[in-house]
Amino acid sequence: MLIKLPCSADPLPSEITALEQFQSRRHFLAQLAAGGLSASALVDAAMANETASRARLAARINPAYTVADKATTIADATSYNNFYEFGLDKGDPMVRAGSLKTKPWTVRIDGEVKKPLTLDIDSLLRLAPIEERLYRLRCVEGWSMVIPWAGYSLAELIRKVEPTGNAKFVEFTTLADPAQMPGLGSRVLPWPYVEGLRIDEAMHPLTLLSLGMYGQVLPNQNGAPVRVIVPWKYGFKSAKSIVRIRFTETQPKTAWNGVAPDEYGFYSNVNPEVSHPRWSQATERRIGEDGFLTRKRKTLMFNGYPEVASLYSGMDLKKFY
């Protein structure tokens, strides 16, 4: 039998867990017990526990990038997520992404660039003025949200590293650490999650490097601490929790495209004319608004961002879906 005597070199329990954290955990457990251990009580408790703890992120509203649509509530945007690294259910990321450690965090930017860089989050936050942009988000599954993101055009970062003439594509790699991401045991996708854009898509001013939303730093379940947002493409193209940005000459092997190329194209531009093999993409359900008493709304070409159409002039978008 192991008898462990406390020795002076051992840390006190209070040094490992700050009092506040300890109390919030107690509170969480108490809520859990009160809720009869039901799954929804777990969700409520997780929601209360983590909205309170996020740092504010000051951002200036950029009126050039807004939409007339009503913003989705933060409660919906943080409780209904596809982030398979934390589980396959939409509610899993909120409940389980607490284990993601977003500090320290570095992003390596390399490949076909003249000035490869490794940046930490503080440098990324200082790289360009943080703007708030209200974007539509359309999931390939047929639902949509409207989210006020905070960040700046990815182009700002790209210009800093000076891509070479060979840089035709940009590849984004998401963290894949089993110690922090309980969903990595699943074989649903190859890990790490990889997404990619053509360089002109990445350079388009709409493409956002996002560090926050709703005036706060990104919640873990939404891809903290840094992700991209490509609002005219289906949501899965917008890689979360990015650790590497690589410039390549050939088209990156992206996650969903590799798993089911007939269902998820490399481009995956929002397009109401091109059906997913198992459902129509002509309409969408706006979370919090459509469905019970109203029809689903019509999906707009390029998700209502016609300014990107010139990127694809001359391309058959039924073939390059």
Binding site: S79, W143, V259, A260, S280, I287
Partner: protein, 203 residues
């Protein structure tokens, strides 16, 4: 095990009440605004799941009778079958209401174009005659044709599973369809074994 008529009546009410629990849960979650950020999807999936669970329960009655001699269970089979139809109907209603807002032309187009929806649609269509002939009057009237007709449930089980698999195709998330298929495969395999044995016995 045998029940006195009074006990059986009570037992039936208890099974009836238990079978309503999934619906009551949905209502309770709805009242508390806890049906997730996408309540419509939640309702659609949940009722679909329960239709499949009740289908499995219905198919479990005969094996339990055979293996454990629980003949009394057959008294509950009709109710379980009707609850299968009940949850399948709610599932179908969610589809035509929330997905298509009662636009029947649009719904038919969806059925024709998408095999996974077609499988589910076929399953619910085939369930209708079974539900309609589940009363004593029709049972007597159809005689031996009744049991032939009600063998459709095996086909319906397979269609429902195809519907479930296909729905998940492309997302690679097959854990649940796999478990359900294993259960249904076992239940159907038993029927095949009995069929062979019975035909061997009969000269």
């Amino acid at each position: 095990m045998r029940f006195a008529p009074r006990q059986l009546r009570w037992a039936k009410w208890i099974v009836f009440g238990l079978s309503l629990l999934p619906l009551l849960r949905l209502i309770a979650l709805g009242v508390q605004d806890r049906l997730t950020a996408n309540p419509i999807e939640f309702i659609t999936r949940d009722t679909g799941d329960w239709a499949l669970y009740f289908l499995c329960l219905t198919l479990t009655v005969t094996p339990l009778r055979r293996f454990m001699g629980l003949n009394v269970l057959v008294r509950f089979r009709r109710m379980l079958g009707l609850f299968t139809f009940f949850y399948a109907s709610l599932h179908f209603l969610a589809f035509i209401w929330f997905d298509h807002f009662f636009d029947l032309a649009e719904m038919m187009q969806d059925i024709v174009k998408r095999p996974f929806i077609a499988m589910g649609f076929l399953a619910i269509v085939l369930l209708v005659p079974l539900a309609m002939t589940s009363n004593d009057f029709m049972l007597r009237k159809l005689g031996r044709h009744w049991s032939v007709l009600h063998r459709l449930i095996y086909l319906i089980a397979i269609l429902a599973l195809l519907h479930f698999w296909w729905m998940r195709a492309g997302k690679n998330n097959f854990a649940e369809p796999l478990v359900m298929s294993a259960v249904v495969a076992m239940l159907l395999a038993l029927r095949l074994i009995w069929l062979r044995r019975d035909s061997v016995r009969r000269p």
